[in-house]
Amino acid sequence: MESFHFFTKLDQTLLLGLRARTIDELLTGIRSVSDASIYFHTHRFLHQHHFLSPEPPNDFAYWVTNVLGDDVLGEKLWSIDTARFGDIRGLRAKLIAILESHLDSLRRASDCQAGEEFHFMACRTFVLPTAYVAHDLIQFAEVLARVSIGSVYFHMFDAKLRLKSGENDFSRWFRDQGKFVLANETKRLDPYSYTLDGLRQRIVALVRQHESS
C-alpha cells in the first residue's frame, strides 16, 4: 500500500504596484495580472480568515461590496462557484464576464475613496515535505487532525486548482487505496463553503466512517 506523505505550503505575498479605483480599473487589472494574482485574490480570504464563518474567499467581492458599496455586483462575484473550476484561466474568464456584463448594464463608474483602492497582489508558494506519513486510513485521520492548516490547504486547494492535478490529493489517494466511495465523497465536497478547520474536521469524520468498511 502506498503511503500518503503530507506536505505543507507557505505563501510569500508579492505587491504588484498596480491599483484600481473603479470597476473599470478592476477589470483592466484582472485581465492583465498573473495567474498567481488571481489565485491570491480568490483564496487569500480563506487562508487569512480560516476561523470565521464560511465565506467564499474572494477579495474582489469584498472590495466591491464594502468599499464601492455595490451590493449587486458584490453578490455576483461572491457567488462564483470556485470549486467548479479546474484552472485559473476559467476562473479569470468568469470574473471578467461578470464585470463586463455589469459595466454594460449600468454605465456608471463609482470611484472609491482615496486610500481605499484595490491593490493587486500575488503570491509565491513554498512547498515543503513534513515529517508526517500515513500508511492507512486510521493513521491518515490521526495525522490530518494535527497537521498545520497550510498542509490541509495545500492538498485540498493548491493541488487541484493551481497545480492542475484535476482533483484534490486526498481523494486521489483514497481512490488508490480502493476506497472509491470515500474518494468520491471527498471530491464532491465544496471546500470553499467550509472554514479550513471545519473542512479538516469534515474529512477526518468521513475517513473515520470508512476506516472499517
Partner: protein, 405 residues
C-alpha cells in the same frame, strides 16, 4: 528572553514545526540585519525580539548598526518627514554627506550572505553589491504612500540595486522593476504590552486613574496628534453618550514633532475639562503594563485615525479580544475585516453609531472580539513575522511561482 517553546500554547506546535522546516533550509547562510539605531523605535524593538528567536531556530542571524554623526541623522530625519509627505528641502551637500557616511560604513562592515537593510538611513550601502555580490534586500518600515518626489528619486536609484524591496502595507508599494514583498509588522504576545494580565492588575490601573469599571469604557490609545483625530473621537463619544452612559479614555504619549501637536493637546484638554467622564492620560514612556491594562479593561477600543502607517495598536486591541472600531486607513483594513473581526468607519457619525451598536449588542461585540483575536493569532503575531522573514531570505535563492524546497 523568550524561548520559542513559549509560543506553542499560543500558536500551536504545527506553526513552530513549519518555522523549523524553513530554518533548516537556511543553514550555513549568514543573515545580516542593518539599521541605524540599536535602541528606541519600532525597528530596533522588533529586531531585538526577532534575532534571538531566529538564532534559536538555528538561523545564523545578526544585527549591525551604522554609525553616523549629528548632521547625518538630521538629514535622514528630513528624508523621513519628506517620505511622509511633509515639504522639506535637502541641499546638495546634504545628499553628499549622506553618501559619505554610508560609504564609510560600507568599508567597515563584514557583510553576510544575505544583507537585510532596514529603512532609508543605510540604503546606500548597496553600492557595495556590485563588487561584493551577496543577496541584498531593502525593508521599508515607514509609510511610503505619498513620498516627496525629490527624495523618492534620490532613494529610488539605490532601491533599484537591491534584489527585492519589502513594504508593510499594500498602499506603500511603488512601480518598481524589482520584486516587492508585503511583510506586515507584528506584535509579540509575550511582551509587557500584550501579555495576559490578571484582573487585580487591571483593576489597580483603572483605580489609579479613577475610571469606573462598572460603566462602559471606550478607549483610544495613541499619540495626541491630529492624524489620530482625538477631537473626532471626543465628538463621536459625545454623540453616542446622548443615548448611553459611558466614559472615554484617551491615553498616549505627549506631543510629537508635529507643529500642530500642542494645539491639538490644548483642544483635547479643553474638551475633557467640560466632561468628567472624559479621561485624558499623558503616559510616560515605559507604560506598557498600563496600556495593556487599559485595553483589557475597556468595553470598546477605538483607533479613529485619519492617516496611519500600519496602526499596530489595532492588533494589540484585537489580540486582547476587544471589539474595535477603527478608521479604514493605512494598514488598518488588513487587520480588520469589516463586521467580521471589527468595525471600519470613515466619519464621526459612523463611529458614534457603532459605539452605540456595540455597547447595546454585547453578544455581537464579543463575537467580533473573538474573531479579531483569531485573526491576529493567524496573521499578526511575531511567529508570522518570522515565517515571512525566513521565506524572504529563501526566496532570494529561488525562482518561480511555486517552489519545492
Amino acid at each position: 528572553m523568550n524561548r520559542l517553546e513559549d509560543y506553542i500554547p499560543i500558536v500551536g506546535e504545527a506553526t513552530l514545526e513549519e518555522l523549523g522546516l524553513l530554518a533548516t533550509r537556511l543553514r550555513g547562510k549568514a543573515i545580516q540585519n542593518i539599521n541605524s539605531t540599536a535602541v528606541g523605535g519600532g525597528v530596533a524593538e522588533i529586531l531585538s525580539r526577532m534575532i534571538p528567536l531566529l538564532n534559536q531556530l538555528g538561523v545564523s542571524a545578526r544585527w549591525d548598526v551604522i554609525k553616523g554623526d549629528e548632521k547625518f541623522f538630521a538629514i535622514t530625519k528630513k528624508f523621513h518627514n519628506g517620505l511622509h509627505g511633509v515639504p522639506v528641502e535637502v541641499a546638495a551637500d546634504e545628499y553628499a554627506h549622506f553618501l559619505e557616511v554610508n560609504r564609510y560604513n560600507a568599508d567597515e562592515f563584514q557583510f553576510g550572505d544575505v544583507v537585510f537593510v532596514h529603512d532609508p538611513q543605510p540604503i546606500a550601502l548597496v553600492e557595495k553589491r556590485e563588487s561584493l555580490g551577496k543577496h541584498w534586500v531593502w525593508r521599508c518600515h515607514i509609510d511610503f504612500s505619498q513620498p516627496d518626489v525629490q527624495i523618492w528619486q534620490f532613494l529610488r536609484q539605490f532601491i533599484l540595486r537591491y534584489q527585492a524591496a519589502v513594504f508593510s502595507a499594500p498602499a506603500f508599494s511603488q512601480k518598481l522593476p524589482i520584486p516587492q514583498v508585503l511583510i506586515a509588522p507584528s506584535i509579540d504576545p509575550l511582551s509587557d504590552k500584550n501579555k495576559e494580565l490578571d484582573e487585580k492588575t487591571i483593576d489597580a490601573v483603572f483605580s489609579r486613574f479613577a475610571i469606573d469599571r462598572s460603566r462602559p469604557v471606550v478607549t483610544q490609545i495613541s499619540r495626541f496628534d491630529y492624524l489620530k483625530d482625538p477631537i473626532g473621537v471626543i465628538k463621536a463619544f459625545k454623540l453616542a453618550k446622548e443615548h448611553i452612559d459611558m466614559q472615554l479614555v484617551l491615553a498616549g504619549g505627549g506631543a510629537t514633532d508635529d507643529p500642530e501637536g500642542p494645539i491639538i493637546m490644548e483642544q483635547v484638554r479643553q474638551e475633557a475639562d467640560k466632561d468628567k467622564d472624559i479621561f485624558v492620560l499623558f503616559l510616560p514612556p515605559a507604560s506598557d503594563i498600563e496600556i495593556n491594562a487599559l485595553q483589557r479593561g475597556s468595553t470598546i477600543i477605538l483607533q479613529k485615525s485619519l492617516k496611519e502607517g500600519f496602526g499596530l495598536t489595532v492588533s494589540e486591541a484585537l489580540w486582547k479580544g476587544k471589539p474595535t472600531i477603527a478608521g479604514a486607513v493605512g494598514g488598518i483594513p488588513l487587520q480588520i475585516a469589516h463586521k467580521y473581526s471589527g468595525i471600519l468607519t470613515r466619519s464621526v457619525e459612523g463611529t458614534a453609531q457603532w459605539i452605540k451598536q456595540l455597547i447595546s449588542a454585547p453578544d455581537y461585540a464579543r463575537q467580533l472580539g473573538i474573531n479579531g483575536r483569531e485573526h491576529i493569532r493567524n496573521n499578526f503575531l511575531i511567529t508570522r513575522h518570522i515565517k515571512d522573514y525566513l521565506l524572504l531570505f529563501l526566496s532570494l535563492f529561488e525562482e518561480g511561482e511555486v517552489i519545492y524546497l
